[in-house]
């Protein structure tokens, strides 16, 4: 069985076959022998040593815990839509997202304002802690989609900018 997983911008291809005890997975030139210990819990043998890793596939994501390191691999869906969920994508400097779901405590800018890079834009609160979100680039505030006290998620930008052209 062949699988593809997206890690950051790379696609990792794997080939999996059953064995007497579990499965053997080839990734590039590496081969891993994997036995399931309990649902979600796997023993992986590689180069003669073993480690235990937990993994749950949920929706289009594979969640992993590798000695405390948490990873999420995206599983490409047939229709090719690999929306990873969490908003703020690299390079999307013209949109200000909440870093986590929560409540807008205070907007620090209004539409039309000129803002500089790193300028504080909005304060969001979740779990009783405040977080200040700064602008990733200089520009003019084009649109503000929420007001103080609104609940926000991580998908819809709070503030949209017209970026200054770099000369």
């Amino acid at each position: 069985m062949k699988n593809e997983f997206i890690h950051k911008d790379d696609v990792i291809e794997t080939d999996t076959e059953m064995t007497a005890e579990g499965v053997r997975v080839s990734v590039g030139d590496k081969t891993f022998n994997i036995v399931e210990l309990a649902p979600g819990k796997y023993s992986i043998e590689f180069n003669g040593t073993r480690r235990i890793i937990c993994c749950v596939v949920n929706g289009n994501k594979s969640f992993l815990d590798i000695d405390g390191i948490l990873m999420e691999l995206v599983i490409p869906s047939e229709d090719g839509n690999n929306a990873g969920g969490a908003g703020a994508m690299a390079g999307e400097k013209d949109k200000i997202y909440a870093p986590m779901p929560g409540k807008i405590v205070k907007l620090l800018v209004k539409e039309g304002d000129h803002v500089t890079e790193k300028q504080p834009m909005v304060i969001v609160e979740a779990m009783k802690m405040e977080h200040q979100v700064n602008s990733a680039a200089a520009g003019i505030v084009k649109k503000i989609n929420f007001a103080d006290g609104n609940q926000v998620n991580t998908e819809t930008p709070i503030i949209e900018l017209d970026l200054e052209k770099e000369e």
């Binding site: 790379d10 749950v56 390191i69």
Partner: protein
């Protein structure tokens, strides 16, 4: 059976501390009543008490902070005592006052002691008179910005803005330069208002790179006031403790004795009863300054329990019932070394941003000298309404090296999927040579973890391989009689009974 001190105790809290209290009551044979908000219908604490009652909607001030509803519930269910845990109403003197009116025992200090110590400004004055060393700063709460400006100039930057009613880093801001002062004061006041319903803040000199050393204190109604040694809580991020240990590598017997008696002096000066914690800053020259006294059971109380063999929550209940502190507790000594790591729902790889969602896989570490105080399990939905603490991992070992090693292994064995935690971050702290050397100051993380990077690319092939195994299991399951698309992990409780609906879609 063990003695029964109360007919029934209402646990006015949630999460791991509610579970800790329920456990202690069960150990003493005392029935418990849990209270929960509509957000916590399926929370572990609501399910674990002998009885449970819903007291309001998710916002704390309509449920866990609502004194009338809690008193009402206590009366309705015949509770003769209330344990507040930490946070929420734990340090609000109006709760013990309401308890007195209702003829219910409050498991904690008398309201006057709480009110005095809860007010950082008044308590500073009181303790100054009692001869307890203090940090230079404002004598009283600040009213206008000008006042803060002057006090800051006088003490000299950097300065610290603190909520008078504060605790846990909330409503706290370090100000390094004059131009930051205004926004810092405003932010601190907002947070204070939110967290404690009181926006009074004040200013004091910020002592750089101190150690945070606190002493556990117990006082009964028979005139005994004792301390159960120190806890070092210097490892903090955004002014909140994440790793605590005892004994502290910074104390020798002589300094321990001096700080211990200062702690007892603070409790006595305040007319304190029950369990409390006296916090000090310890500077590089062994000078220590009284910070505040926390009038509740502390998040990090387990490390004291591990090295002294005392059950602090049981002692709280015994003292509240009018019992004297037992011989066993008065003779307690420190044995071995204990460390606690706080398991928060936060992203250790991204500024400790809170992380919410459903726990898809949950497995606790086990083994000799490993203890987990947890308020969650598989399937628990972690929301945004309350503190992000999920659990506490505590270890005990004969010495510090072994305790560190045991904790590192336990953090690796503590498996939580679905929400972010900072387990890996804490592993890296524990493995750092400066931590092993015992050079733990409050700026440790700033100083040593700043450039920390986790190379997940290095394990991405491994991750893909394991994911493939998981996919294979799923595929086979589907082939063979169409089992549910989602492969449940051992603890992934599909909200009871909803399976049908899920698959209906």
């Amino acid at each position: 059976m063990a003695e029964k001190y109360f007919k029934k105790i209402l646990v006015a809290n949630r999460g791991e501390i509610a579970m800790r209290i329920i456990n202690a009551c069960r150990l003493l044979g005392i029935p418990t009543l849990a209270v929960y908000s509509t957000a916590d219908k399926e929370a572990v604490h609501a399910r674990s008490a002998d009885q449970a009652v819903e007291i309001g909607p998710p916002p704390p001030n309509e449920s866990y902070l609502s004194i009338p509803r809690i008193i009402e519930a206590a009366k309705e269910y015949g509770c003769d005592a209330i344990h507040p845990g930490y946070g929420f109403l734990a340090e609000n003197p109006r709760l013990p006052e309401a308890c007195i009116k209702a003829g219910i025992t409050f498991v904690g200090p008398p309201p006057d002691a709480m009110r005095l110590l809860g007010n950082k400004v008044e308590s500073r004055i009181k303790m100054a008179d009692a001869g307890v060393p203090l940090i230079p700063g404002m004598k009283s709460a600040g009213v206008d910005l000008q006042e803060f400006k002057e006090a800051a100039e006088k003490a000299g930057y950097p300065v610290l803005i603190k909520a008078a009613a504060g605790g846990g880093g909330k409503g706290m801001r370090v100000v390094k330069a004059p131009q930051e002062l205004k926004s810092a004061v405003e932010a601190a006041m907002r947070e204070a208002k939110n967290a404690f319903g009181d926006d009074t803040v004040y200013l004091e000199k910020y002592i750089e790179n101190p150690r945070h050393i606190e002493f556990q204190v117990l006082a009964d109604t028979h005139g005994h006031t004792i301390h159960l040694f120190e806890r070092e809580c210097s490892i903090q991020r955004r002014h909140q403790k994440i790793i605590e240990e005892t004994p502290s590598t910074a104390l020798n017997p002589e300094l321990r004795a001096r700080m211990g008696s200062a702690a007892v002096k603070v409790a006595e000066a305040a007319g304190y009863v029950n369990a409390g914690t006296v916090e000090f800053l310890l500077d590089k020259n062994g000078g220590f300054y009284f910070l505040e006294m926390n009038t509740r059971v502390q998040v990090e109380h387990p490390v004291t329990e591990m090295v002294t063999g005392v059950d602090l929550v049981v002692e709280q209940i015994r003292i509240a019932a009018g019992e004297p502190i037992s011989e066993y507790v008065r003779n307690a000594t420190q044995r071995g070394h204990s460390i606690e790591c706080r398991i928060y729902a936060e992203d250790g790889e991204d500024n400790f941003l809170p992380s919410s969602g459903k726990i898809l896989y949950y497995e606790e570490p086990v083994g000799p000298g490993i203890r987990v105080d947890s308020g969650v399990t598989g399937g628990t939905v972690v929301g945004v309404d309350y503190d992000p603490i999920l659990a506490k991992l505590i270890v005990h070992a004969p010495n510090r090296e072994m305790a560190i090693n045991k904790m590192i292994n336990a953090l690796k064995d503590y498996r939580i999927l679905g929400i972010k935690t900072s387990r890996r971050f804490m592993i890296d702290v524990l493995e750092h040579q400066e931590f092993h050397a015992g050079r733990t100051y409050t700026n440790f993380i700033e100083l040593h973890m700043k450039d920390r990077k986790v190379d997940i690319d290095e394990v991405s092939d491994l991750a893909a391989a394991v994911s493939s195994a998981a996919m294979m299991r799923k595929a086979r399951a589907n082939v063979s009689g169409g089992r549910r698309e989602r492969q449940p992990s051992p603890w992934q409780t599909i909200g009871p009974w909803e399976i049908g609906m899920r698959i209906g879609k």
